[in-house]
Amino acid sequence: MKLTINGKSVNVDAPADMPLLWVLRDEIGMKGTKFGCGVAQCGACTVHLDGQPVRACVTPVGSVGARHVTTVEGLSATAEGNAVRAAWEALDVAQCGYCQAGQMMAATGLLLRNPRPSDADIDAAMQGNFCRCSTYKRIRAAIKTAAGIDPSDRREV
């Protein structure tokens, strides 16, 4: 079957029910997309299908069709992705870093549809992305930095 990954056409020979995550990692050898749970609970495997964040661990490769797959390796193809990567670097968000590919994909997905997210928007978009190292404070600030808005935490509790 034919996939479009980060703008390139890739031929893969995998059963249709194999999750996209394992096609990317083990069949194609792209290791940027991470495995954390396999049950759509951690977000480490987040990729975009036509710009929409999805969990690759529960996305059968056969369901991808003609939709364009974007992974962290292709993050910089959009202005939003570039801004996210730059903010992640500037704010030194990563600790172990293992969740961050998924975090950046989720954040980029948010900015693609909402260029000036509020704290509530960030909470809603990012709550499916677990960070075991608890880098949430910097993720929040980095998303706002990428969006060009005041990075301070303005949540009302």
Binding site: K31, G32, K34, G36, E73, C96, F130, C133, Y136
Partner: protein, 755 residues
């Protein structure tokens, strides 16, 4: 560190003419501090082979520094080379960093644990840099026939300011490699005020690889011809296989080999300590991990697991409560506790319970192993790679030299990867499969086969005199045992404060035998003990009708006159109550303690704790809603870890992460039925996620003490600061974790009507 051991340096050149500086310690009477003869002399080769290489400078000026310790996000792969680079005056932006090989003979214990990277390496790593710098300067002095003392170094150059001449380190490397090494004793280290690299924020050396999604972690390892494997084990840890349908698994797509592995039971004396032996199981090996993992369902394995039948969380709870009604084995005491309690004006008594917790590193456990002609080569995300290497050698019956272990970045550690169980499994499977194999645990394996943080149970009794001073402190703690000894990570200790500040105290311990694997979780023991004692201290302040922060300070100040030595912590610096008081005073200032007016339903709570050589005080601001749901708005943190914050961005990150993790622990729990974990995947846990993560304000109080680590000490106080704030907000004192809305609703004393 350097006081009892002698520093050894070695200098040599590679065949390509690069300078290589080796370094190590000699222990024992015969080892006089000395440089080894240069490599070209041929003498001292055996000595040199015992030393680890830390610095390599090639003719093109590139400087490679070797990080001896594992990296799991705590920053040591960046910080240890920064320590070298500072004294070397290398150009940090151009330095390359690589992991040292896992080799305890040459690099000593290479580990990530106990927040010890800074205390262990602060001085030795700087001496490595200073020695390398000294020979480079000497080489320049000889070339220029100048006085070495008049030359300076800056960003990879030796400079003669008088004449304006300068030479790059690369141009000097070959000559420097042939010089005699300086006597380590003559090396003078920089005054911290003159640091140019340390004390400034530097991103992780792996940042670009992380952000660009380049292969970096254990799970990303690829070896030519590599197969993928899962290892199916009994849900009751250690149970032997009764039967399984091997043929059915073999017929699944992508599966190439399915075989049973006999377990190796460790000797009785090895049951306590790092994980030993090898659990029995079934290996499924094939061409794609998803396929081999799916094949496990076809196995329909049955296990000889009846021995787990009585190991239920509920049974443990019932047993512990019964034990707390009686007395335990006295572990420590001072003064006359019962007498003091009898004479006290007020006696406060409470029972606290903390649950078992999983580690849940986000990168599941994994290891890649390649069989070699006579041994095995391993790539493993491990916090204790030397131990893993020894464990593999011992379990497989291989000479140590036939086991090579490469460190790879860990996607989180938190103490889980101190245990190297997955390393042994991968080594055995690869040798049986006669192929390189990447073993990857499913998340379900990780939850079912963790080395859990054991829970504990405490009955605390304290007596106050008429002036509101704590005069008696009696603790009975229940933990777990294996082979009659307390399990790892479940030690029952006496909190330094208030415990050691009180004139009469006693610590009793009871143990419940368990078959469940236990281990260390970030800030082991302290992560639960701080909740217990710091919550109870708050209760004592309430009983004394005092402000809880002032109450703590008063007791600390009253102890200034008598320094407190804790004899249980041999070799550790003693508890310094003045430092404890100072962080508390500072956090009061920063949080506006006593000056903040909080709206209804919002409370401030304080806690302070000393662990892993660090002094940390925290104030939490928490809102409790009408339905008992609670949200931490902000936590102010003040930490004293010495005179300088070596890499501020990482130091702040460690504190932010530890504090938020601590808040998350308030709602964490794993329970067991018939010897097996009830929870299976992340779906079954209430995890700390973005919306619940509080704002964290981090401040370091700089003091004239040796610099210490930050991976752990900021975690313990967070739990109690939050639970004390919940009490302040609504009057609910929840003493049994997890801290749920239901428990708050049952205990709250403010007038609230849900809905």
């Amino acid at each position: 560190m350097t006081t009892r051991r002698e520093l050894l340096l070695s200098l040599g050149a590679t065949s390509a003419g690069a300078l290589v500086l080796g370094f190590g310690f000699a222990t024992g009477a015969g080892a006089a501090a000395r440089p080894l003869p240069p490599a070209s002399s041929g003498r001292g080769a055996a000595d040199r082979a015992r030393l680890g290489n830390y610095v390599m400078i090639t003719a093109d000026g590139s400087v490679t520094l070797y990080a001896r310790n594992p990296e799991m996000g705590q920053g040591s792969k960046t910080l240890l080379p920064m320590l070298i680079a500072e004294e070397l005056d290398a150009d940090w932006d151009r330095v390359k960093v690589e992991y040292a090989p896992a080799d305890a003979k040459r690099y000593e214990a290479q580990y990530a644990g106990g927040s010890m990277s800074v205390p262990d390496n602060w001085e030795p790593m700087r001496r490595v840099g200073a020695a390398a710098r000294a020979v480079l300067v000497e080489a320049a002095a000889r070339r220029w026939q100048a006085d070495a003392g008049a030359l300076v170094t800056e960003r990879g150059f030796v400079i003669d300011r008088a004449s304006g001449r300068k030479l790059g380190y690369g141009e000097l490397a070959a000559e420097a490699a042939r010089l005699p090494l300086p006597d380590p004793k003559t090396l003078t280290l920089k005054a911290p005020a003159t640091f140019t690299i340390l004390g400034k924020s530097h991103r992780s050396v792996d940042t670009s690889a992380i952000l660009d999604g380049r292969p970096l972690y254990g799970i990303d390892t690829v070896v030519p011809g590599m197969k993928y494997a899962v290892y199916v084990k009994s849900p009751v840890p250690g149970a032997r296989l009764k039967r399984a349908d091997f043929a059915a698994a073999r017929s699944m797509p992508g599966v190439e080999q399915v075989f049973a592995v006999e377990g190796v039971t460790p000797g009785a004396s090895e049951q306590i300590g790092l994980a030993r032996g090898l659990a029995p199981g079934i290996a499924i090996v094939g061409r794609n991990w998803w396929q081999v993992n799916r094949a496990r369902t076809a196995l329909a394995a049955e296990w000889d697991d009846a021995f787990g039948a009585e190991h239920d969380s509920e049974a443990y709870d019932a047993r512990a409560r019964k034990l707390l009604d009686g007395s335990g084995e006295t572990r420590r005491q001072k003064g006359q506790v019962e007498q003091a309690l009898a004479g006290a004006t007020t006696v406060v008594e409470s029972v606290y319970e903390t649950p078992w917790l999983p580690h849940l590193t986000l990168e599941p456990q994994n290891c890649t192993a390649r069989p070699t002609a006579s041994g095995v080569e391993i790539w493993a995300p491990s916090q204790f790679p030397n131990d893993g290497r020894e464990l593999v050698a011992a379990t497989l019956g291989l000479p140590l030299d036939e086991v090579t272990v490469h460190m790879v970045r860990c996607g989180g550690g938190f103490g889980r990867r101190i245990m190297n169980d997955y390393m042994v499994e991968a080594a055995v499977i690869a040798r049986r499969a006669k192929a390189p194999v990447k073993l990857l645990w499913a998340r379900e394996d990780d939850v079912a086969h963790d080395y859990y943080r054991p829970g504990n149970y405490h009955r605390l009794r304290a007596g106050l005199d008429g002036a509101g001073r704590v005069v008696a402190y009696a603790v009975h703690g229940v933990s777990f045992s294996r082979g009659g000894k307390p399990v790892n990570g479940g030690e029952i200790g006496l909190d330094a404060a208030p415990g050691l500040l009180v004139p009469n105290f006693r610590l009793e311990q009871s143990l419940i035998p368990t078959i469940l694997p236990t281990g260390w979780l970030r800030a082991p023991a302290d992560n639960s003990l701080a909740f217990v004692h710091e919550s109870f201290w708050d209760e004592l302040a309430v009983a004394a009708k005092r402000d809880p922060l002032q109450f703590r300070l008063d007791h600390m100040r009253a102890s200034f006159a008598h320094p407190i030595a804790d004899p249980t912590e041999e070799g550790e610096p003693p508890y310094d109550v003045r430092r404890a008081a100072a962080v508390l005073e500072r956090v009061a200032e920063r949080s506006g303690w006593g000056r903040q007016s909080t709206p209804k339903g919002v409370g401030l709570g304080v806690a302070t704790y000393f662990s892993h050589r660090g002094y940390v005080a925290q104030v939490a601001k928490v809102r409790v809603r009408a339905d008992g749901d609670w949200h931490v708005e902000k936590i102010w943190v003040v930490a004293d870890v010495g005179p300088i914050i070596l890499n501020p961005t990482t130091a702040h990150a460690q504190v932010e992460g530890a504090v938020i993790e601590g808040v998350g622990q308030l709602t964490g729990e794993i329970r067991f039925e018939r010897g097996r974990a009830v929870q299976a995947n992340l779906t079954d846990f209430r995890l700390m996620r973005m919306p619940a993560a509080p704002e964290v304000d981090v401040h370091f109080l700089l003091t004239d003490n040796p610099p210490t680590g930050l991976g752990e000490p900021a975690l313990p106080p967070a739990l109690a600061a939050v639970s004390n704030a919940i009490f302040a907000a609504c009057g609910a004192r929840v003493r049994a974790l997890p801290l749920t809305a239901q428990k708050i609703m049952a205990a709250r004393t403010d007038v609230q009507h849900a809905g």
